[in-house]
């Protein structure tokens, strides 16, 4: 197999959004594609609706499970504010795939702070490639509101030409229940087409 270039992917969002599952699938896909893989996340307090971030790294040989700031190739953001929080981790050539969804943190819903009003615009000002994805719409279209994470992985897959589509589907099939398989496969395709 010809050796492909390293990929550093940062997945961010809010606890309970299915980020850990997405990162598990992504890491498995990297392994199937013949890379050395490392993945790091923080459990615990983050499960209670806090910010969550997961690092996934593919390469010939990966040492650190954490990606260095300014070296992220792809930022996969499940929420707008979280995208903005982490966009400065992108490398100069990095791209962000952002779920077009706003979830108010309690600091906002309690009225003590404001949710930035024009995040899509602010993200574009960073100069990076920013792809907004209507994750919830596409997931509903696919038949399961909960498949947003698979929609987003589908979108990411479009940016990773080294990895065959079949590899993604193989891993997704092994990770989701038979009942939701059809919706998840469809979610993957819709996300992939969208990107």
């Amino acid at each position: 197999m010809k050796m492909k270039k390293k990929k550093d992917i940062l997945i961010v969002g809010v606890g309970g959004q299915g980020i850990i599952v997405a990162s598990e699938i992504l890491a498995d896909v990297g392994k199937e594609a013949g890379f050395d893989v490392k993945k790091s996340e923080v459990h615990g307090m983050s499960q209670r609706g806090g910010s969550v971030s997961t690092h996934v790294r593919f390469g010939k040989q990966v040492f650190s499970p954490l990606i260095r700031q300014g070296k992220v190739d792809f930022l996969l953001a499940f929420e707008l504010l979280e995208a903005l929080r982490w966009v400065n981790f992108l490398s100069p050539h990095g791209a962000a795939l952002v779920n077009n969804l706003k979830i108010n943190p309690t600091t906002v819903s309690s009225g003590s702070m404001e949710y930035p009003s024009n995040i899509a615009h602010l993200l574009k000002e960073s100069g990076h490639t920013i792809q907004l994805i209507e994750g919830i719409n596409l997931a509903e279209q696919a038949g399961s509101k909960r498949a947003v994470n698979i929609v987003l992985l589908g979108a990411l897959s479009g940016f990773l030409p080294d990895i065959a589509e079949e590899m993604w589907l193989k891993v997704i099939r092994s990770r989701v229940s038979a009942k939701t398989l059809q919706a998840n496969e469809k979610a993957f395709y819709l996300g992939r087409k969208d990107a």
């Binding site: 993945k39 307090m45 806090g50 650190s64 504010l81």
Partner: protein
């Protein structure tokens, strides 16, 4: 076959492959998933113990009986288990006994960031530190082997980044069968009366010498000679960060970091131009190298506290600061963790907060009540501390005009280390009101069973402790069970009990809403705001429920995706605008 395993999964797998047959522990991030994975191996008896001390004692018994044993806990768990640990170091073991302990540099989910490597040196037992999941698995085997060979417990120290990072790990299907014999009576070894302990202590010094010789010769401590300008001594996750940032440097990689290999270090130091130690948290290795008279640098180049990152290492060694990147010109609201919508803890803390009652607190999901808007917790030290703290506070304030404080403690925490505190209140005739937040689970760490839930780690039905009867047997006669969804009842009971001149126990009982949701799968009702009735008074916002927010500044709105249908907000709305709807 290579599979992607987290450090915790790899330790569990190591337990299987290297013939462990008993495992015990108490949950605690980042160590919890070790036992949660061991439970999948039917060859291993495993259990959640009430606390880490009991877990270790169970482990000691199992080892004596001839079973290879793992005991798991988070870093602060070893404080609780320190008493048996320190003397177990004297008695040694029969079958291999490895204590797996996970530190939390950066305090992702902990109350402190103590460096447990000192415990190995303190107790004079070997310390093993993996740098990835493969090493975590293999060090379980090495640890068990040297535990038996050198007659010592072994400390396997993980950190959050090791426990919760996944990397490729070779797994095998074979399982080693341990050949250790049964327990042989040997009071001089196992009964630590002073006369015996004095002799054992001398033996321990000899043991440390042999272990140091092992540390010099084992493959786990190895030199990787490369560019000799820079030589770095490191282990654990620091090794990975260093290799990432300084691939050309020379390394002395330590997998066994106590006792340190003095000769290896001296040789390595001689072969490199400039010597560094790179380690997280404290200069544990560096100070020992300095004491050997070797000039070395490390800690002074790093931030004094917190977790290492590859960026920090790059800054220290290459003076390369992380690129600034793009910063939007707006302030980003932080997203702290919060109590879930429908959390039964909310009603209780809302009531305490309204009444301005000081609460000596404890550790669990309910500690989140310290955050605005509830701000209902006044202390949090360690598991179980709430009760003793409340007792001491109230004793000291007796006769003054300082109003009494209450102690609040979760059910798992109470059974972990609150029992003796309650006994203290009863025995020493305190008047404290103690509130157990009985949500029928250990929610904080991911819903583990405990002696109050009626099920074991291996899913067996068992008896559940009766908290009321227990408190009564201590001599506490005022025991009340309340439903934290019923604010009126809560308020009455708390008012009455705080005033009482005797101690009382309030058991605030309702299962964790996430557990209930899992069981039921659907939510029977939901709350909704009748917009025309909402006066915009914001009383509901004082609950700090993440499902409730304000629409265009003048009306409350409840997010139907987040609401778990509890009736608490309905009770605080004076305008009657919050109503339940069937879904």
């Amino acid at each position: 076959m290579k599979v992607l395993l987290s450090g915790n999964e790899a330790v569990a797998r190591g337990g299987y492959e290297f013939g462990v047959s008993v495992a015990a522990g108490y949950p605690g991030t980042p160590s919890t998933e070790i036992l949660e994975n061991i439970v999948h191996f039917s060859e291993i008896y495993c259990q959640w113990s009430p606390n880490e001390k009991v877990a270790l004692e169970t482990g000691i018994g199992a080892s004596l009986a001839g079973a290879r044993t793992l005991v798991t806990m988070k870093h602060v768990g070893l404080n609780v288990a320190a008493d048996p640990f320190m003397t177990l170091a004297y008695t040694g073991v029969n079958a291999g006994l490895v204590i797996v302990c996970a530190d939390d540099p950066g305090m992702h989910s902990s109350q402190n960031e103590q460096d447990n490597r000192f415990y190995a040196k303190f107790a004079q037992v070997p310390l093993l530190e993996p740098s990835d999941s493969q090493e975590a698995k293999d060090l379980v085997g090495f640890g068990l082997e040297i535990s038996e060979k050198y007659d010592t417990p072994v400390l396997l120290r993980l950190t959050t980044r090791i426990s919760h990072s996944k990397s490729l790990t070779e797994v095998k299907d074979q399982r080693i069968v341990s050949s250790i014999g049964p327990f042989a009576k040997d009071p001089k070894k196992y009964v630590m009366i002073p006369a015996h302990s004095r002799k054992r202590h001398v033996l321990m010094k000899t043991r440390t010498k042999s272990l140091r010789a092992l540390s010099e010769s084992t493959d786990w401590n190895r030199c990787e000679m490369n560019d000799k300008k820079i030589g770095i001594i490191c282990g654990s996750i620091a090794y990975q960060y260093a290799k990432e940032v300084l691939p050309e440097a020379s390394y002395l990689k330590l997998g066994m970091s106590h006792p340190l290999p003095h000769k290896l270090i001296t040789d390595f130091a001689r072969h490199v131009e400039k010597l560094y130690v790179l380690e997280e948290l404290t200069p544990f290795i560096e100070d020992q190298v300095k004491a050997m008279g070797i000039s070395v640098e490390g800690r002074s180049m790093l931030p004094d506290t917190g977790e290492l990152t590859p960026d920090i290492v790059a800054q220290a060694f290459l003076h390369e600061s992380a690129p600034k990147g793009y910063h939007p010109g707006v302030e980003l609201p932080p997203r702290p963790p919060v109590m879930c919508p429908g959390c039964p803890h909310r009603g209780l803390f809302y009531t305490l907060s309204r009444k301005k009652i000081r609460a000596m607190g404890d550790i669990g999901c309910y500690t989140l009540s310290v955050l605005p808007p509830l701000q209902a917790m006044d202390t949090c030290i360690c598991m179980g501390a709430s009760i003793g703290t409340a007792h001491g506070f109230n004793k000291a304030s007796q006769g003054s005009d300082v109003p009494p404080v209450v102690g609040v403690i979760g059910d798992s925490t109470f059974l972990h280390s609150g029992l003796t505190g309650l006994l203290d209140v009863a025995y020493n005739q305190g008047n404290s009101t103690i509130i157990i937040l009985d949500n029928r689970t250990t929610a904080m760490t991911g819903f583990q069973h405990h002696p109050g839930t009626g099920l074991t780690l291996q899913g067996k039905e068992t008896r559940a402790v009766d908290l009321k009867a227990l408190a009564e047997s201590f001599g506490i006669s005022r025991v009340h069970e309340v439903d934290p969804y019923d604010l009126k009842q809560l308020s009455q009971v708390i008012d009455r009990e705080v005033k009482a001149s005797e101690p009382s126990l309030i058991i605030s009982r309702r299962p964790c809403v996430l557990l209930e949701r899992k069981k039921r799968k659907t939510k029977p009702v939901q709350r909704q705001v009748a917009v025309d009735l909402c006066t915009g008074c914001k009383a509901c916002l004082k609950l700090g429920c993440p499902a409730i927010s304000f629409l265009a500044e003048d009306k409350a709105v409840i997010d139907p995706l987040m609401c778990n249908g509890c009736p608490v907000c309905e009770q605080v709305c004076k305008a009657g605008a919050i109503q339940s709807v069937a879904i």
